[in-house]
């Protein structure tokens, strides 16, 4: 059974907050749910399936379904970090296609900024029963230095430069200037990025995403419901998910799981990278974007540095407009998880509801790709391809 077209994204809502000192994480989840339902023209009683990940407090769906007063017949809490929400879209499609769900709600929320979390630079001790923990934690693996080791090796093998990586931040900042909710709205230059303080070599402060509070939600429905609503039709035509890790010690850090999650999504969609008009690409760090662009086939492996230079990712300037909301690099990385905002901006573009200064003309095909976990140890890549019908 092909899942192509089994579901449509009819609701997409991003919480405007970037600092939520006065709200709990559960309330943020629920506000996002309400926002996405209002966007779709549905109510909570229409929801019959619910999806969340590790950012949801309590025991996943059980706690959140209780808090929001939902009654569902299908649920999933696959937690693969920031790409969980691309995975959830794929799993919602499976539920719809097999008659287990009609209206699927996906939520994300968190407040690492209010909680003062040093997301990128402080190693986080997990349970010693987590199988790698005792063999990694002594060495200080934080988020930034794990991605930095990928960048260092990519530079070594392919000659990628800090200036090339900086172009990714420059493009994001060009877009963020038009987003009133973005945390960082100043347009920056390549020099600004490479002269910003080094965090974990070779990644500078401006190679890193923001730490923000907030959240988002999506509504995925079966086609009959989507066509009964008043919103533009955004059809899910491709999904893929894949996990990549140290492979028992045969670690290779110059490519991401997108190399494996992309092909099934492209095949299902029946299109190729050059057909894409707009790309939401997970941007925890500049290197994340560069590697995913290569691995999704937008350029040859190792050519990502050349591909992103000279504004090629800037809407209205380059060939591949990306993250036109400013992305995680400038706008929002709620709960330290950027997957859902990637899908939300892709939906805005396909509906023609992005900011006029960054709206891609005739935007009919878009991709929203996520990378959750750590590129330097273990992560999950998840790809969603969308079509404006």
């Amino acid at each position: 059974m092909s899942l192509k077209g089994a579901g449509y994204i009819v609701g997409a809502w991003e919480h405007p907050t970037r600092k939520a000192t006065d709200k709990s994480v559960t309330l943020l989840h629920a506000e996002c749910a309400k926002g996405a339902l209002d966007d779709a023209g549905l109510t909570k009683d229409d929801v019959d399936a619910y999806y969340c990940a590790g950012d949801a407090p309590g025991l996943g769906p059980m706690s959140m379904i209780d808090y929001m007063g939902l009654k569902v017949r299908h649920m999933d809490s696959t937690d693969v970090g920031g790409s969980s929400y691309q995975v959830a879209v794929g799993h919602a499609l499976q539920a719809i296609a097999t008659g287990r769900a009609n209206v699927c709600l996906i939520t994300l929320a968190g407040r690492p900024r209010s909680e003062g979390m040093a997301t990128g630079t402080a190693p986080r001790a997990g349970s010693p029963a987590q199988p790698e923990m005792q063999f990694e934690y002594p060495y200080g693996p934080a988020t930034a230095n794990m991605y930095a080791m990928c960048a260092m090796r990519h530079m070594h093998e392919y000659g990628t430069t800090s200036e090339q990586l900086a172009w990714i931040k420059v493009a994001a900042s060009h877009h963020a200037q038009y987003n009133p909710h973005a945390m960082l709205r100043d347009v920056v230059t390549v020099e600004d990025v490479v002269n910003s303080p080094m965090v974990a070599s070779p990644l500078h402060r401006l190679d890193c995403c923001v730490i923000s509070d907030g959240g988002g939600a999506l509504i995925v429905t079966k086609p009959e419901i989507a066509k009964s609503l008043k919103r533009p039709l955004v059809k899910v035509i491709g999904v893929g998910e894949a996990a990549k890790n140290q492979a028992g010690g045969e670690t290779e850090l110059t490519y991401s799981a997108a190399r494996w999650s992309g092909p099934p999504a492209w095949e299902m969609a029946g299109i190729k990278p050059s057909d894409i008009k707009y790309a939401s690409i997970y941007d925890s760090f500049t290197i994340t974007v560069l590697m995913q662009l290569e691995d999704l086939g937008f350029c040859e492996k190792g050519q990502g540095g050349k591909f992103v230079m000279d504004g090629n990712l800037i809407s209205g300037v380059g060939k591949l407009p990306f993250n036109t909301d400013g992305g995680g690099l400038c706008s929002n990385h709620p709960a330290n998880r950027g997957g859902i905002t990637k899908i939300i901006e892709a939906v805005r573009q396909l509906r023609g509801e992005a900011h006029a200064k960054v709206q891609v003309p005739n935007c009919d095909l878009a991709i929203a790709h996520g990378t959750g976990g750590s590129l330097g140890t273990r992560h999950v890549g998840s790809t969603v391809i969308l079509e404006r019908e």
Binding site: G126, A129, F135, G140, N145, R153, P202, Q246
Partner: protein, 131 residues
């Protein structure tokens, strides 16, 4: 450069099947599991082969290798050099490069084993320094 304090979580008994690794640490020997069927050494240590789901044998390795990649964590105080070292026996293991100026660290550099005691009664763990 001041040496960072090295944390450890749990005890050497938390995951009982990894005892040969920690016994090796106590004796100053790097002991890793080797997949019985494929003869590949495995990182991180575990009691079953991720290549076959078959058995492993624990063997001492040479402690020699080269730096596959690294990053200097400049935001930490003191800064430290995290790295993957490709061991002579094959696997790449996460570690820190110590006893040198971080500015001198390069991909491909030959390194050899050294040991640092972890905090709060944890085991000594394997680290690497320029050979």
């Amino acid at each position: 450069m001041a040496q960072r304090k090295i944390p450890f979580v749990g005890t050497v008994d938390t995951n009982p099947e990894t005892k040969p690794f920690f016994d090796g640490c106590a004796a100053g020997k790097l002991v890793l599991p080797q997949c019985t069927a494929t003869k590949k050494f495995i990182w991180y240590p575990r009691g079953i082969s991720p290549f076959t789901l078959g058995p492993v044998e624990w063997k001492e390795v040479s402690g020699k290798g080269t730096i596959y990649t690294y990053s200097v964590m400049e935001r930490a105080n003191p800064p430290y050099v995290i790295a993957y070292v490709e061991l002579a026996e094959g696997p790449k293991m996460m570690t820190n490069i110590v006893n040198c100026d971080p500015k001198d660290v390069k991909i491909g550099m030959a390194v050899s084993l050294t040991w640092i005691q972890t905090e709060d009664g944890g085991p000594q763990m394997p680290f690497f320094a320029p050979a």
